[in-house]
Amino acid sequence: MKFLAVCGSGLGTSFMVEMNIQQILQEIGVTGVEVSHSDLSSATPGDADVFFLAKDIAEGGAHLGEVIVLDNIIDMDELRDKVTKVVKEKNLI
């Protein structure tokens, strides 16, 4: 299982989201998920199973497949809810 956080330049924001996802996965005790980050141009549908994007670039990343759109990228509670929902759907916990 692989998660990919995506932002415009693939440097700061997506990296922060990646670190937050890792922290959440650790908190809820999920292992075996690879998390990484990328820029919008490089990301392709095969790169990951689930993609995490901020609301403002959601349109540009719609082609990626299973996309989770984050309304507020610094809101840990929102991210925790959405990550937990995904790992439940994928039967990881």
Partner: protein
């Protein structure tokens, strides 16, 4: 004795290779976090390769950039500069790589120490900007006359201070925007954003007329994709300059007979390709260093405020993002006109800096002054990021003659500050200024009363 000398010379060889040095820094970070062997191997090797990727990207980028300078000179008889952080950093790392890596490493430590022992609790987590600022300081400190250990010490202290003060000056505006005091903005264009916020205050009567109340076409999202926007601007600028320089000159002197417009198209594309490669390298280099920094700093500084990359504020006002970009870009074109009249070096408006910093200036201007504040604030931001590079170029030594330079406001402000000090009174002036600034920051209760007022 000779074996000892041989050992030392090998050690010096190792440490003077920046790629090995950053890999060693990553290794320390990974060991400190007690990662397992496979993660340690993976992290250290990726960091090592990442640095080499950046250097390779610099070569491609230079091929894409150097004809532009020659064409611009031929067309307008003045030099034209396209500010782009990735471009100038990749070029500078060839010579200043080792010092950059060491300044970055120790600068992050200084940042943690400042956060631990002063009232400025900001931990600057935007790694690529830390790297770029470390690089600029390595250049400026060298031009100022420092070398070896004093250079790294002065650069690291300066970097630690900038990493703390940049989020600090913006925090009053961030509190107003986000409604809390938990998150800071870590992006080295804070001076431009703060001035945009202040400009917005001039229009505080129309604060209710927010940018978010208007219907605005959203079809410009593709500009957020940095490869697209870089390629697009470089091609457009190349073709315009090519039309002025003329086919005869380009086909005889630069393109080896290839049609001048085709040549321009390809070179604009090469520039974007170079930046793309450099960004991949930067990503590899930072992938292990930043999480280690984050983990260690949160342990040492309990109530730290993370200073995060600029798009975190875009979702607060998506319309202001586009309005701010346009307004800042127009500010850049306006400034370019003034530069032509004055006959200075021409700073061309790059879409990337105007997008990212203009958007943030628009969001903060909107928070303090509604639509009018957003438009005016980001226009002023556009003028600021256009004129600062003109004064920054002379303090960068030989790198001031590259056709590109650092783009965001804080690079300009801090570069000009330290460079000017060095010009007037040499390295000692920089040392004194760093001590004075640190001393001022240590005063526990200064004039930070707005902290309670604005919440």
């Amino acid at each position: 004795m000779t074996t000892m000398n041989e050992f030392l010379s090998v050690l010096v060889d190792i440490l003077s290779q920046p790629a090995i040095l950053v890999a060693a820094i990553a290794l320390i970070g990974l060991l400190a976090q007690r990662k397992n062997l496979s993660e340690i191997m993976k992290g250290a090797i990726k960091t090592f390769v990442g640095f080499i990727v950046i250097a390779s990207g610099a070569g491609i980028l230079e091929q894409g950039l150097s004809p532009f300078g020659a064409m611009f000179q031929e067309a307008f008889n003045v030099s034209g500069v396209v500010p782009n952080n990735e471009a100038i950093v990749a070029l500078a790392l060839n010579e200043y790589g080792t010092n950059t890596a060491l300044i970055m490493f120790f600068g992050m430590i200084v940042n943690v120490l400042i956060a631990r022992f002063t009232r400025y609790k900001y931990i600057f987590l935007t790694g690529h900007h830390t790297l770029y600022m470390a690089c600029m300081l390595a250049v400026i400190m060298a031009v100022a006359g420092f070398d070896t250990i004093p250079l790294i010490a002065a650069g690291a202290v300066a970097l630690g201070i900038i990493m703390t003060l940049s989020p600090a000056i913006l925090q009053p505006f961030m509190r107003q925007l986000t409604g809390n005091d938990n998150v800071a903005l870590g992006h080295f264009s804070a001076v431009g954003y703060a001035i945009s916020g202040l400009t917005g205050k001039l229009f505080k009567k129309s604060k209710e007329h927010s940018t978010e109340n208007i219907d605005f076409p959203k079809g410009l999202g593709f500009l957020r994709d940095s490869t697209v926007s870089i390629a697009l601007t470089m091609i457009v600028m190349y073709i315009i300059v090519a039309l002025f320089a003329g086919s005869t000159f380009i086909e005889a002197e630069l393109s080896d007979g290839t049609n001048y417009l085709v040549f321009s198209l390809m070179k604009g594309g090469s520039f974007a390709a170079g930046v793309f490669i450099i960004l991949s390298g930067v990503r590899l280099v930072l992938a292990e260093i930043i999480p280690a920094f984050k983990g260690i700093s949160t342990k040492i500084v309990p109530n730290a405020k993370p200073a995060l990359d600029v798009p975190i504020i875009y979702t607060y006002a998506p319309n202001a993002v586009l309005i701010g970009f346009f307004s800042s870009f127009i500010g850049g074109i306006f400034s370019m006109g003034i530069m032509f009249v004055l006959g200075t070096t021409i700073i061309l408006p790059g879409v990337v800096p105007h997008f990212f910093t203009g958007a943030a200036a628009g969001v903060l201007g909107n928070a303090t002054g509604g639509i009018k504040g957003s438009v005016a604030g980001s226009f002023v931001n556009g003028i600021i990021i256009s004129f600062l590079p003109i004064f920054l170029l002379p303090v960068l030594g030989e790198l001031g003659f590259a056709n590109t330079t650092f783009s965001d406001a804080d690079f300009g402000v801090s570069g000009i500050f330290f460079g000017t000090l060095a010009n007037y009174a040499g390295p000692i002036a920089i040392v004194i200024s760093l001590i004075v600034i640190l001393g001022l920051m240590l005063i526990p209760f200064g004039k930070k009363k707005e902290a309670t007022k604005n919440v």
